[in-house]
C-alpha cells in the first residue's frame, strides 16, 4: 500500500488547446500571421512530454521504544559525513503559569548557554565552535527541545556534552539576566514594526488575550521567572516517557541503537505529561484598529477559529486553502494582487493545528488610502467562496499543485524523520502523510464548498487593521463598530480588582 502511494505515476496532462489557438489565428487578419508563425514554431507547454516519475520508496526511520518509555527514531543518511539529532520533551509554553509568561523562552535560552556542573556554557561554546558543532536548546508551545549537529568524526565528544546538558542543566543567574535583558528589550520594541503588531494582535483576538496561544510576554511576567522555576521545570518534565528522540546521519543503525540504549536506558520514568486543556472560543466579531502613525500601509487580518489536523475535513480544507489563498494561482493572489494591484502580500485560509484549532487568518497589506477598498475586496472573495463551489478547473489546479508537489514532503531523510517525530508527539498515525495523499485525491468541488461554509462565517470574523487611520479611504466604521486596541506597553500588571477591562 505504501509503495503504491509513493511510486504512483503521475498522469500526463492531456488537453491540447494549441489547435484551438491555431484555428483562431487563421480566422483573423494578417497582423496575426507573425504570431501564428510563432505559435507554430514552438509548441505549447501541454505538448512537452512528461514521463512517469521514477519509482521512489523513501526510507522510513526505525522506531524503537525503550523499556522506560522513551521513543527513539533512527534514520540513516550517508550522503554527507554529518550526524544530527533532536530530543523533544513534552510540555511547553502552553502550560507555563500565566503570571510567568516567558518562562519557556528563558528556559530555552539558558539551558544550553548555562552549561552543566562539568562545563560552563561558555566553555561549551569554545569547544563546540572549534569543531564546528552545535548543541542548542529551544522551546515551543508544546515542547522544549535540545538538538545537536556535528561532523561524524566528532560524534563521541559532542554526544557526551549533549547528554550532560540534557540531564544536568544548571541555569546560571548571569545567563538568566542576559535573556531577561533581551526579552525586556523585545517588549520595548514590539510596536516598532507593523507585522509584529499584527501577528500579536491577531493571536490575541483569535485565542483571547489570556489564552496560552494568545497571551504576551510582559515586563512583570519576565521579572517573575526565577532560577528555581527553571530547575523545577526540568525536574518535572525531563523523564524518559516524556521524551521523543530522533537522530539522522552517517551512522550504522545497529551500532547507534546500542549506543542510544546504553545512553538513555537508565533515564528515569515519571508520571506521563498531561497536556493542558485549553478552550478555544474564537474572537468577538467586529472591527479592531491598532493605530500606528509612522506607516503608509495598513496590515489587515480577518481572524476566526480554524480546525485541528485530525479533523476529517482537513483534506478538503487544505484544497480549499490552495484555491482561496495558497500560492500565486490562488484567488486572493490573482484578484487582489495581480488584478486589482491592492497588495504585494496577500493570502490566507483556514489554519489547522495538530492538537488545537489553528486560526482562520486572511490577510493583506495595502496602502493606507485603499484600506477600506481592500477590506471590501477580502469580503468579496469570502462571499464568492461561500456562494459557489469552485469549478472543475480550479479544483484540478489546486489538487494538482498538492499532489504533483507531494514528493517534496518526503524528498530527504531528515524531512521524513521530522514528520515521524511530529506524528509521534501528537499521536497521529504514522502513515498520516500517505492518508493525506489518498484523501486529497478524493476531495470534490462540493467538499470544498461544504467546508468553506462550515468553517468560515463572515459575521463571526474579527477584522484587525493596523495602520494610520488619518489616511484611510473611508472610516472603518463602514464595516461596523470599531474597537480601538490599546497597544501601549504597560509597565505593571492590571489590578485584578479593576476587572471588566479585559476581553
Amino acid at each position: 500500500m505504501r509503495e503504491r502511494i509513493y511510486t504512483r505515476n503521475i498522469p500526463d496532462p492531456t488537453s491540447t488547446p494549441n489547435s484551438r489557438v491555431l484555428a483562431k489565428c487563421l480566422l483573423i487578419g494578417w497582423i496575426i500571421v507573425s504570431a501564428c508563425g510563432l505559435l507554430l514554431a514552438q509548441q505549447g507547454w501541454q505538448q512537452v512530454p512528461i514521463p512517469p516519475l521514477s519509482s521512489f520508496k523513501p526510507q522510513e526511520p526505525t522506531r524503537i521504544q525503550l523499556p522506560n518509555g522513551m521513543v527513539i527514531f533512527l534514520q540513516e543518511d550517508h550522503e554527507l559525513p554529518l550526524i544530527s539529532a533532536t530530543t523533544l520533551i513534552k510540555g511547553g509554553s502552553s502550560s507555563e503559569p500565566a503570571q510567568k509568561v516567558g518562562l519557556i523562552s528563558i528556559y530555552a535560552s539558558t539551558w544550553r548557554t548555562s552549561g552543566t556542573e562539568k562545563k560552563t556554557g561558555d566553555q561549551l561554546d569554545d569547544e563546540l565552535e572549534s569543531i564546528a558543532a552545535k548543541i542548542e536548546t529551544g522551546g515551543g508551545v508544546d515542547t522544549t527541545s535540545i538538538n545537536f549537529n556535528c561532523l561524524k568524526q566528532n560524534f563521541d565528544q559532542v554526544f557526551a556534552d549533549y547528554l550532560d546538558v540534557l540531564e544536568h542543566p544548571v541555569f546560571l543567574e548571569e545567563k538568566i539576566a542576559l535573556t531577561k535583558r533581551r526579552l525586556e528589550t523585545a517588549i520595548a520594541r514590539r510596536n516598532d514594526e507593523i507585522d509584529s503588531i499584527a501577528n500579536r494582535e491577531a493571536a490575541k483576538l483569535g485565542y483571547g488575550k489570556d489564552s496560552p496561544y494568545g497571551r504576551e510576554i510582559e515586563y512583570w511576567t519576565v521579572a517573575a521567572v526565577t532560577r528555581q522555576d527553571l530547575l523545577d521545570w526540568h525536574t518535572r518534565h525531563f523523564a524518559a516517557n516524556n521524551i521523543i528522540f530522533g537522530i539522522v546521519g552517517d551512522f550504522d543503525s545497529k551500532q547507534m541503537e546500542s549506543r542510544l540504549r546504553q545512553a538513555f536506558g537508565s533515564l528515569p520514568k515519571a508520571t506521563p505529561y498531561d497536556p493542558p486543556k485549553i478552550p478555544v472560543v474564537g474572537p468577538k466579531p467586529g472591527v479592531y484598529l491598532a493605530e500606528k502613525t509612522d506607516v503608509n500601509q495598513s496590515e489587515i487580518a480577518m481572524i476566526g477559529v480554524g480546525i485541528r489536523r485530525d479533523n476529517p475535513d482537513y483534506f478538503a480544507v487544505r484544497v480549499m486553502n490552495e484555491i482561496f489563498g495558497g500560492g500565486f494561482s490562488s484567488r486572493l493572489f490573482k484578484n487582489l494582487r495581480s488584478k486589482q494591484a491592492l497588495a504585494y502580500s496577500v493570502g490566507g485560509g483556514i489554519g489547522a493545528g495538530y492538537n488545537h484549532p489553528g486560526l482562520i487568518d486572511i490577510s493583506m497589506g495595502t496602502k493606507s488610502g485603499s484600506t477600506a477598498k481592500a477590506i471590501a475586496g477580502l469580503y468579496q472573495q469570502i462571499q464568492d467562496l461561500l456562494k459557489n463551489p469552485p469549478d472543475e478547473t480550479e479544483l484540478k489546479q489546486a489538487k494538482d499543485s498538492i499532489l504533483n508537489g507531494f514528493i517534496f514532503a518526503y524528498d530527504s531523510p531528515d524531512k521524513i524523520l521530522g514528520e515521524q517525530l511530529t506524528y509521534e508527539l501528537y499521536g497521529y498515525p504514522k502513515d498520516f502523510l500517505e492518508r493525506f495523499r489518498g484523501a486529497v485525491e478524493k476531495v470534490t468541488s462540493a467538499d470544498v464548498h461544504r467546508v468553506a461554509r462550515k468553517y468560515i462565517d463572515q459575521s463571526k470574523l474579527a477584522v484587525l487593521v493596523v495602520g494610520n487611520p488619518k489616511d484611510f479611504d473611508k472610516p472603518l466604521e463602514e464595516f461596523g463598530p470599531v474597537t480601538k486596541l490599546d497597544i501601549s506597553i504597560p509597565t505593571a500588571p492590571p489590578r485584578p480588582v479593576a476587572a471588566g477591562g479585559g476581553r
Binding site: L38, I194, S329, A341, Y344
Partner: protein, 509 residues
C-alpha cells in the same frame, strides 16, 4: 579544559575537515558538469540522486546597480514581469492583446510626457489621458489569463517558486519533480525568449506596495535606505533596489523592454540544475530550448566607481521607534585579493556566541541584544561596505554601542587575533560548506553564483582554501586599511517621541 589542549584538538579536526573538503572537490567534479551554449549561456549540472526531484537557479548578471538613470527599481520591476507569461502563456488572444497593449503604452507615454511638462501642462488633457489610460488598461486586461505561468509551475508540482533582485544580480528559482525536467526547460526558456510585459502598470502598483511594506512602513527599512544614500555619493549602491518612489511611479513598459533587451541576453545568464538529473540530458534540453535565446554580446559593465571618501559621514534619523545603530566602512569588491580576509574578520566578530562582538557587547558589557559585523553590504560586485550593526539593551544608548564597536575595531587593528579564534573560523567555513551540499536548492544557488562571478563553480571550494591561508597579520593589515574615520558612515535611529505613556493600573481597552 586548557587552551593548549583545545588548540591541538581543533588542529586535529581541522586537518580531518580539510581532507574532507579536498575529497569533496574531487567527488564534486565527478558529478558536476558545465557547458556553455553557442549563444554564451552557461549551464552547470550537479547530480544528486537522493530523490526524484531537482532544483534550478537562473542567475542574471544584472541587478539594481544596472538600473538606468531615472529608472531606479527597474531590475526589480522586470523580475516581477518575468512571471507574466509569453505569447502562448497568460493570454486568451495574443494578437488582439498585442494591439491593446500597444494602445495602452502609447496612451501612457503621452500622459507621462504631459505630466512632466514644466511649461504649458494642461490639467484637462491630463485628466482626459488618465481616463483613456484606464480604459486602455482595462481593454488589455480582458485578454489576460491571470498568473498562468505560475499556475502551470504550481500545478505541475513546482515548489518554492520565487525570484529575487539584489544590487548585483537577479535570480529565479523553484524545484520540480524530476520527470518535469523538459517542461522546466521549456518554461524557463520561453520566459526569457519572449516575455510579454502584460499588466505592467498594475504590477508597478504591486511593487509600490512592496516598497511600502519593506521600506516606508519599517524603521529598519527607512534607516537602510538613508544609510546607503549617505555612504555612497556616486555609485548606484546609493539607490534602493526597490527604487525611489518618484522613479518607481514613472517606470514604463517601454523602459522595461529596453532593460530586458540589454541585460537578459544569453551571455549574461547562468543556470544551475541540481538533483535527480543526467547531465547529458540536461545539456541536450538546454541546446534545444535555451539555445533559442539570441546570441548577443554581454552588456558593458558600469563605469562609475565610488570616489574616495574625504571625511566621516553620518546621519541621524528621528523616529518614533526604538534606537538602532549602524556604521559602515568602504571596502573593495569580491575580486580583491583580501576578499577572504574580510570574511575572516566578519566571522571572528559575529559568528555565534564565541564571537567578539557577542562576548563583548552582549555578554560582558551588557549594552546590546544583538551586535554584528558583516562584510559585503549591500553587494559584492562593486566596492562595497563592511558594516557594524547593533540594537541596544533597553536603557542603553547608541553612543555606548559606538564606543564599544570602536574599541573592538581598535583591538583588531592593534593586537593579533588569537590562533584559536582564527582556527575556529577556518574549521567552521569548511563544515558549513559540507552542510550546504545536502540541499538541491541551496547548492544550485551556490553553483550558479560562483560560476557567474568567477567563471568556475569550483571557486565555491577554492574560496574556502583562500580563507585557510588568511593569517593574523592579514587581519591586522586589512583592519588598519579600512577601519578609518574618514572611510566611515554612521546611521543612528533616534527616538524622538517617547513611547506612548504606559497604561495605568487596570488600563485595558
Amino acid at each position: 579544559m586548557s587552551r593548549v589542549v583545545r588548540f591541538s584538538l581543533s588542529l586535529l579536526t581541522a586537518l580531518i575537515a580539510s581532507a574532507l573538503v579536498a575529497q569533496d572537490v574531487s567527488s564534486f567534479e565527478k558529478k558536476t558538469h558545465v557547458k556553455t551554449l553557442a549563444n554564451g549561456l552557461a549551464i552547470v549540472v550537479c547530480e544528486r540522486h537522493e530523490a526524484p526531484v531537482f532544483s534550478f537557479y537562473t542567475h542574471v548578471d544584472a541587478g539594481s546597480a544596472q538600473d538606468p538613470k531615472g529608472e531606479t527599481g527597474m531590475a526589480h520591476m522586470f523580475e516581477h514581469m518575468a512571471f507574466k507569461g509569453t505569447p502562448t502563456i497568460g493570454t486568451t488572444d495574443y494578437a488582439a492583446e498585442q494591439v491593446a497593449l500597444q494602445r495602452e503604452e502609447a496612451t501612457y507615454l503621452t500622459l507621462q510626457r504631459e505630466r512632466l511638462k514644466r511649461v504649458g501642462r494642461d490639467p484637462k488633457k491630463i485628466e482626459q489621458l488618465e481616463k483613456e489610460f484606464v480604459q486602455a488598461q482595462e481593454k488589455a486586461d480582458k485578454y489576460v489569463k491571470k498568473n498562468e505561468f505560475s499556475e502551470i509551475v504550481e500545478g505541475q508540482g513546482g515548489q518554492d517558486m520565487n525570484a529575487a533582485t539584489g544590487e548585483d544580480e537577479t535570480s529565479y528559482f523553484y524545484s520540480m519533480p524530476a520527470n518535469r525536467l523538459q517542461l522546466w526547460a521549456y518554461l524557463e526558456s520561453e520566459r526569457f525568449l519572449h516575455p510579454v510585459l502584460r499588466e505592467f502598470y498594475q504590477e508597478r502598483d504591486v511593487v509600490f506596495e512592496e516598497r511600502r511594506m519593506r521600506t516606508d512602513s519599517s524603521p529598519i527599512g527607512r534607516m537602510i535606505e538613508q544609510f546607503l544614500a549617505t555612504a555612497y555619493v556616486a555609485h548606484p549602491y546609493r539607490n534602493p533596489n526597490v527604487g525611489w518612489p518618484s522613479d518607481l511611479e514613472s517606470l514604463t513598459r517601454t523602459d522595461a523592454q529596453r532593460f530586458f533587451d540589454t541585460y537578459y541576453v544569453a551571455s549574461n545568464m547562468t543556470i544551475a540544475v541540481v538533483g535527480d538529473v543526467k547531465p547529458d540530458e540536461v545539456f541536450t534540453l538546454a541546446e534545444k530550448y535555451f539555445g533559442r535565446l539570441p546570441a548577443k554580446p554581454k552588456p558593458e559593465d558600469l563605469h562609475t566607481t565610488e570616489p574616495l571618501q574625504v571625511d566621516e559621514r553620518s546621519i541621524t534619523i528621528p523616529e518614533p521607534s526604538q534606537p538602532i545603530y549602524l556604521e559602515g566602512y568602504h571596502r573593495p569588491d569580491y575580486r580583491d585579493p583580501d576578499d577572504a580576509v574580510y570574511d575572516g574578520i566578519s566571522d571572528i566578530l559575529s559568528d555565534g556566541r564565541t564571537s567578539r562582538l557577542y562576548r563583548s557587547l552582549v555578554r560582558d558589557k551588557k549594552i546590546a541584544v544583538t551586535a554584528v559585523g558583516f562584510t559585503d553590504f549591500p553587494g559584492v560586485k562593486y566596492p562595497t561596505l563592511f558594516g557594524f550593526y547593533a540594537i541596544p539593551v533597553q536603557g542603553h544608548t547608541t553612543a555606548e554601542l559606538q564606543t564599544a564597536f570602536r574599541e573592538e575595531i581598535e583591538r583588531l587593528k592593534t593586537r593579533d587575533v588569537n590562533d584559536v579564534e582564527l582556527e575556529m573560523v577556518k574549521t567552521r567555513a569548511k563544515a558549513n560548506l559540507i552542510r550546504g551540499l545536502g540541499e538541491n536548492n541551496g547548492l544550485a544557488a551556490q553553483l550558479a553564483i560562483y560560476q557567474a562571478r568567477y567563471g568556475d563553480w569550483r571557486e565555491l571550494f577554492y574560496n574556502i582554501d583562500r580563507l585557510q591561508k588568511v593569517t593574523k597579520e592579514d587581519i591586522r593589515r586589512v583592519a588598519n586599511k579600512i577601519f578609518t574615520p574618514t572611510n566611515r558612515t554612521v546611521a543612528v535611529v533616534q527616538t524622538v517621541k517617547p513611547a506612548a505613556p504606559p497604561s495605568g493600573p487596570g488600563g485595558g481597552q
